[in-house]
Symmetry: C2
Subunit: 119 residues, 2 copies
């Protein structure tokens, strides 16, 4: 009579002391998802171009659409996500809406990523 333990494979060699130590120090779910969301908003080429453009000068939606070669609607949708994650802020002037980066943390983040890419 052979032992048909189908499930044990998942647990046999687990080093529970290691796992325990790691689990203790892992950040909570809230923090993890916040971090993931921040990375996700920068994980799209279009949004990245928008952020890089705004790191140089303040630009209106129309200018941004020209820079990234997409419709104003598409750009507006992406700007909504960037606003949601507090990466950009805006200022209305007449019919135009001018966007700029919220702070310099964003550029630091991109620089950090850039230094990982070249290597």
């Amino acid at each position: 009579m052979k032992k048909t333990n189908v499930e044990t494979c998942q647990v046999t060699v687990v080093d529970h002391r290691k796992v325990g130590r790691v689990n203790e120090r892992l950040p909570g779910n809230r923090h993890i998802t916040d971090l993931a969301e921040t990375f996700k908003v920068l994980s799209d080429p279009t949004r990245l171009r928008i952020v890089l453009a705004l790191s140089m000068e303040e630009l209106c939606v129309c200018d941004l659409a020209t820079v990234v070669k997409l419709s104003i609607s598409a750009v507006s949708h992406q700007l909504r996500l960037l606003k949601g994650r507090k990466l950009v802020v805006f200022r209305k002037q007449g019919k135009q809406v001018y966007y700029r980066l919220d702070d310099d943390h964003v550029i630091d983040l991109i620089h950090a990523a850039a230094s990982h890419v070249r290597e």
Copy 2:
């Protein structure tokens, strides 16, 4: 006879000097997509947990599966992506495969994101 310029709206108020300046300084497509890919690989909670776990100690796939509470298969798939982006490296020992972070840039990147999140 009214001028039916449907397309002009996209171009009328564009500040071409601004757009020109910005376009000149924007990184090339290759660099942008490389950056975006780096952010994307960190934009998933599971992968982020894996990376954070590996920033503490070297762990085998089995341990990682226990930590993130997912199947070994799921973890293996994510590790493949992390390997592809050079975030982790591995070492085989007997039947086990131990993973660790490739370098410390990765942690710096996560710290940079974390400092943007709390604010």
